[in-house]
């Protein structure tokens, strides 16, 4: 199988990797770069546990080839915090109790970050629609939605 050299940015650091054709972005993150915050749920683009930002837009990393990430900028859940400060979304989801087993949380945080980046003041309906592709089997979404609303409020108050 063909191997490919790719250069990309992951959570702000430059990486140069050699990847096989059939390696997904999800496997590259977890198994090559040891970034295990990105979870593998379904490997079929359904559950959203592997969601990361690809050039600023959320994607299911199980549905992207590593070789397609040449010159791309990837942000995983490990890259949300800056300067020892959690992303306001991370603070809010802890405060609201929006985490139980935690498996869906990285994907939820990435989808929510992408939502707030494109729409800083989403309605409850818009939040629900943005999370259609992120399945949670524990909390039932109520506290997750509350935490996203709270993060949006905090960001509005701070600006």
């Amino acid at each position: 199988m063909a191997m490919h050299t790719i250069n990309l940015t992951v959570n702000g650091s430059r990486e140069s990797l050699v990847v096989p054709s059939n390696m997904t972005l999800m496997r590259m993150l977890r198994e090559t770069l040891a970034l295990t915050g990105t979870k593998n749920g379904c490997s079929a683009g359904e559950c959203g546990a592997c969601t990361v930002l690809f050039n600023g837009e959320p994607v299911n990393s199980c549905m992207v080839l590593a070789v397609e990430c040449d010159e791309a900028e990837i942000v995983t859940v490990e890259g949300l915090a800056h300067d020892q400060q959690l992303d306001p979304l991370q603070d809010a989801i802890i405060q609201a109790g929006g985490v139980q087993c935690g498996f869906c949380t990285p994907g939820i945080l990435i989808s929510a970050r992408a939502l707030l980046n494109r729409n800083p003041n989403p309605s409850e309906e818009e939040i629900k629609e943005a999370l259609v592709g992120n399945l949670c089997r524990c909390t039932g979404y109520v506290r997750i939605i509350k935490s996203i609303q709270e993060a949006a409020r905090m960001a509005a108050a701070a600006s």
């Binding site: 063909a2 059939n22 496997r27 959320p58 549905m63 592709g133």
Partner: protein, 298 residues
């Protein structure tokens, strides 16, 4: 130590041609062993399930013009084959002139899937359930195709031959989906009945478009395209013809819905029974037509 390997894609070689000519030549040379892809949202799932074992995946999304989206009031809309559904949904030109297409795309899977999914991919995958296809057919779309003999254009009507089967020949690459200017004064709706409200494949999908049209004795032209109820995306031609002849009234909508019911040929599958699908075609058609009528006369 226990290792649990992640389910992975079967082995293949990833190919990134530099030009359309190179891509068409490679695809023609390798026939069924090579497959063009853009977002991969259908291809990867089918490969993982073992349903599709290509030796070569040919990445066509970076080729010339594939990411263009252009609107011209006279010639209409050109959507490059690699333009993501999210980009289509958020494009002001689409929202202003083709809201039916945006609505249909919004019903597809999830936001993160639509970052990668494309309308051209939806069309090439040729699933009878393809959500964006009905809107394209209702809006009289055509396809720009690059093959070994160069570029050509084909209408979308007649493109589908069966589930997963199209008129595309080895070496053919769809480079853009083209929509003529929308019919003046048109209104449309996409109704999708799934097992849940969002994100699922459809049990029945229905794109309906109506517009004032002096060529039709009734004064209005209606387009009705059904998803998931036939081997191909189904234009309900008899229902459309009936509404071209008969003035739009609740009774006429009921009669057109009955014709759509008779025209469709669904199967039983994991999502629904054929019987339920047929009944829902009738109910959804009647409902869609009255919604379109109300939107035409606010």
């Amino acid at each position: 130590m226990v290792t649990i390997p992640h389910p992975t894609l079967p082995e293949f070689d990833y190919i990134r041609p530099k030009t359309l000519a190179e891509a068409s030549y490679f695809l023609a040379e390798h026939g069924p062993e090579a497959r063009a892809f853009s977002g991969g949202t259908d291809v990867f799932v089918r490969m993982r399930d073992g349903a599709l074992p290509p030796k070569f995946l040919v990445d066509v999304k970076n080729l010339d013009g594939m990411r263009d989206l252009r609107f011209d009031p006279l010639s209409g809309l050109i959507i490059g084959a690699a333009v993501s559904m999210n980009a289509v949904i958020s494009a002001p030109e689409v929202q202003a002139h083709y809201p039916l297409l945006a609505e249909a795309c919004r019903s597809v899977a999830s936001y993160q899937l639509r970052t990668r999914a494309t309308i051209a991919g939806n069309i090439c995958n040729a699933s009878p359930a393809g959500d964006s296809i009905g809107a394209c057919l209702a809006l009289d779309a055509s396809l720009c195709i690059h093959g070994t003999a160069g570029a050509r254009r084909e209408t979308l009507a007649g493109f589908f031959l069966g589930p997963g089967k199209t008129r595309l020949q080895p070496g053919d690459i769809v480079t853009a989906v083209c929509l003529p200017p929308p019919p003046p004064g048109c209104a449309g709706v996409y109704l999708k009945l799934g097992r849940n409200r969002l994100s699922d494949l459809s049990i029945v999908g229905l794109a309906a478009l109506g517009s004032p049209n002096s060529d039709c004795p009734s004064g209005y032209r209606f387009r009705i395209v059904l998803a998931s109820v036939a081997p191909v995306p189904l234009v309900a031609g008899r229902a459309e013809a009936y509404l071209a002849e008969h003035p739009a009234t609740p009774d006429a909508f009921r009669q057109a819905a009955q014709l759509a019911y008779e025209e469709c040929a669904p199967i039983d599958d994991v999502r629904s029974s054929a019987r339920y699908r047929k009944l829902m075609v009738r109910n959804l058609t009647e409902s869609a037509l009255s919604q379109v009528w109300q939107a035409l006369h606010p």
